[in-house]
């Protein structure tokens, strides 16, 4: 198992996702002799996990059962321990496409946060790309580094504990793409520009508030970034349902046969409440340096 390569079989030391239901998954570090409590009872790693195939159904001690899934960045995003607000898959997907990430891309990111986006970036740029991720908070930087190692992607990433607004990304002219998720992105725009390749590249800034977007765009224009574009993607989940609508009774009708009872119907309903806003995504392109 690694976050950038599928395996067939669960092995000692893997990180696996225990699926107990749509809204109930948890990450488990697989260790010989260890046990994990699920809502349906315990699972013993040696007997129930190691050597089994990913996707297997595992019966727990209380008789219930769970599935054990291969980790993906997307499953990690919904199960990871939150150390900060995190980016979710809808935004991550948009960022990945709009930054044109692919195998071999060199990416700079700040802040690392809980590593939700980092894992998705690593998945996409492997096996030949590299991620330089900068985190202000010392403990979070350290924790991220540990997780990258556990998830066997540490060869693809450099974690730096620094203030990106002060110190930049620690690299110059190497990045194809830069991503900012920090409170004052405008303070890091010059560092983003420096980190990007001389031939140009793309950047994205994620901000919850419109004022942050406005200041960041000013800084981007001042730094000669081009093709500025601010957008927002809102996910709607449709719940599939069977409903039955009763038919009205208008009384006896000579012309038409009575049409009573109920009409069954397959439809979808939206959740009663849904996330309406995570943040604005502002994209920009750095043109190639003049000198070239």
């Amino acid at each position: 198992m690694s976050f950038v390569e599928y395996s067939e079989e669960i092995r000692d030391g893997d990180m696996a996702i225990v699926y107990q239901g749509h809204e109930s998954m948890m990450p488990v570090k697989v260790r010989h002799g260890a046990q994990t409590q699920t809502r349906y009872g315990a699972i013993r790693h040696s007997a129930d996990l190691i050597g089994k195939r990913y996707g297997a159904k595992v019966t727990c001690s209380k008789g219930g059962w769970v599935y054990v899934l291969h980790p993906t960045p997307e499953l990690w995003t919904v199960t990871l321990p939150h150390r900060t607000q995190i980016l979710y898959t809808t935004d991550i997907a948009t960022i990945t496409l709009m930054l044109e990430l692919k195998p071999g891309s060199v990416v700079c990111e700040s802040g690392t946060g809980s590593g939700s986006l980092s894992h998705a970036i690593l998945r996409t740029i492997a096996p030949t790309g590299h991620l330089h991720t900068v985190e202000f908070h010392q403990q979070r930087a350290q924790k991220a580094e540990e997780e990258f190692a556990e998830h066997r992607v540490d060869h693809l990433v450099t974690v730096t504990n620094a203030d990106v607004c002060e110190d930049g990304f620690g690299v110059t002219g190497v990045a194809d793409a830069v991503f900012l998720d920090i409170p004052a992105p405008w303070e890091a725009v010059r560092h983003a520009k420096a980190a990007l390749k001389a031939h140009g590249g793309r950047m994205c800034s994620f901000s919850p508030c419109m004022e942050q977007v406005q200041r960041t765009r000013q800084a981007l224009l001042a730094a000669n970034f081009e093709e500025l574009s601010t957008l927002e993607v809102v996910l709607r989940v449709h719940e599939v349902r069977s409903v039955s609508m009763p038919l009205p009774d208008f009384g006896p009708d000579a012309e038409a046969p009575p049409d009573r009872g109920a009409a069954p119907l397959r439809t979808t309903t939206p959740p009663r409440e849904m996330p309406a806003h995570t943040g604005y995504l502002t994209f920009a392109a750095k043109p190639r340096d003049r000198r070239l």
Binding site: Y19, R123, E226, Y280
Partner: protein, 473 residues
């Protein structure tokens, strides 16, 4: 810059390159071919002069349809400079005399060699009502004039982002109205990445296939499952992938899927010299494109077209050559089919991506069987209803978890001093996605058994969504 020593060569435009032309929000995919006339936004020109220049350069179309690189300053003159906006239009009286420049004036300006952007600025300067127009009206005005007078074009290296924007903007019908943000979701939800083995079933002109290949970076393998007479993927060409990418691409006609699953598909080699025309009905069937299945093929005509004139002798010679070519091609096809079949036979694909005009339900139910357990799949449809059917069928059948039926709302923003608001127009819809993950199927399979929890059946009319936690905030 530290890496000022960068080699320009990977960024240079070469003869034969597939490139993207761009003007404003309009894109077009073309190949750089010597002395080939290109038509873009109702203007024609030649790309010859671009060869040797760098990607992302903007060119002016000058006399004779030649391209001439634009100096960086001109490039930066954005429309926003020209705007000084009226916040309402209470002072506008439309007397038909608002534009002081006559048609002749404009022709004169053109003859003087003024560039498009300059002419537009002149028009604005000479419009007595422009400043008082509302922003919306100003935008409309500038857009109209731009279309008429601008004559620059930027040449870009193709990427999935640009291809998706191009198709969505120009020919959404060809890509089943798949919006770029929806494509983005698909690639992520299917966990497409280097080194995996991904099945693709699409009728999106090759856009989805190309997008998957870009994300694979030439590592692993992609198997295009195609309907009808041959794989349709004009779009893949336009990505301009390096040659080795194509080694990782396999294709397999879906009309052989049942045979493959039943173990009756014969792909063993035949003696090419026997001259037998159609040794295997299976394989030969492919040779005849079924026209009713390929309405999207119109893009392909260039590669098929061959009605050139010639003498009778030529024709006889070409007839013999053709017969030989045909046999060679059949053999090649057989080999390819065998290779693709071998990829599929392990039933261990890592991902499945479906985006087509076919009803997704039979496609999904059939192709899911080729996936390993614990692998993601994602199905796109322009319509919600067929995905509801897929959802229901999967729930009945089991073997998948984490099913989600979703769509996205995409909103672009105008962010300008004192004029910040969502764009006035947006895409009406980007289509729907059904995604999920395969799991091992029970030996004794029960209906509705794919969810771990022994759940109570829902009988009320209340949406179950009530109980659902919001996971995305």
């Amino acid at each position: 810059m530290a890496d000022g020593g960068d080699d320009d060569s990977p960024y240079k435009i070469n003869e034969g390159d597939y490139v993207m032309l761009k003007r404003g929000e309009i894109y077009k995919a073309v190949q750089i071919q010597s002395k080939k006339k290109v038509v873009f936004e109702k203007q024609w020109f030649f790309l010859d002069n671009a060869v040797g220049d760098l990607y992302s350069t903007t060119f002016e179309i000058v006399s004779g349809g030649q391209l001439q690189p634009v100096k960086p300053k001109d490039e930066a003159s954005a429309a926003s400079d020209t705007k000084e906006v009226g916040t309402d239009n209470r002072n506008i009286m439309d007397d038909g005399k608002s534009q002081k420049l006559t048609r002749d004036d404009i022709e004169t300006l053109k003859e003087q060699g003024l560039k498009g952007q300059e002419i537009i600025q002149k028009l604005i300067d000479n419009s007595s009502t422009f400043r008082d127009k509302t922003e919306y009206a100003q935008d409309k005005y500038i857009k109209k004039k731009k279309k008429k007078y601008e004559n620059t074009v930027t040449i870009l290296k193709p990427t999935c982002r640009i291809m998706a924007l191009m198709y969505h903007g120009r020919e959404p019908g060809k890509i089943c109205h798949l919006r770029y943000d929806t494509l983005a979701q698909m690639l992520t939800l299917a966990n497409v990445h280097a080194g995996s083995k991904v099945l693709v079933f699409e009728t999106c002109a090759g856009l989805v296939l190309g997008a998957v290949m870009e994300r694979m970076g030439g590592y692993g393998s992609v198997i295009q499952m195609y309907p009808g007479g041959g794989p349709v993927r004009a779009g893949v060409e336009n990505f301009g992938f390096p040659a080795h990418f194509h080694d990782t691409l396999h294709d397999f006609p879906i009309c052989h899927v049942n045979a493959l699953l039943a173990g009756t598909l014969d792909t063993s080699p035949k003696d090419p010299d026997t001259g037998e025309e159609a040794p295997h009905p299976d394989v030969a069937a492919e040779a005849q494109p079924k026209m009713e299945d390929t309405p999207d093929d119109s893009e392909n005509v260039e590669t098929n077209a061959s009605g050139e004139p010639g003498t009778d002798d030529d024709r006889q010679r070409s007839k013999d050559a053709k017969a030989q070519l045909k046999r060679a091609k059949q053999e090649e096809r057989r080999k390819k089919l065998a290779a693709a079949a071998a990829q599929l036979e392990g039933m261990n694909a890592d991902g499945l991506v479906i985006a087509s005009r076919f009803h997704p339900c039979p496609v999904l139910m059939c192709l899911l069987r080729f996936l390993s357990p614990s692998r993601p799949f994602v199905v796109y449809s322009q319509y919600k209803e067929p995905l509801v059917e897929c959802f229901t069928k999967l729930k009945e059948q089991g073997g998948t978890v984490n099913l989600r039926l979703t769509d996205t709302w995409l909103r672009h923003y105008q962010v300008l001093p004192n004029r910040t608001h969502p764009m006035l127009l947006m895409s009406g819809g980007g289509g729907y996605l059904l995604s999920g993950i395969t799991v091992e199927t029970d030996h004794s399979r029960q209906a509705n058994s794919e969810e771990p929890a022994p759940k109570k059946q829902k009988v009320t009319e209340e949406p179950a969504a009530k109980k659902q936690k919001v996971t995305e905030s």
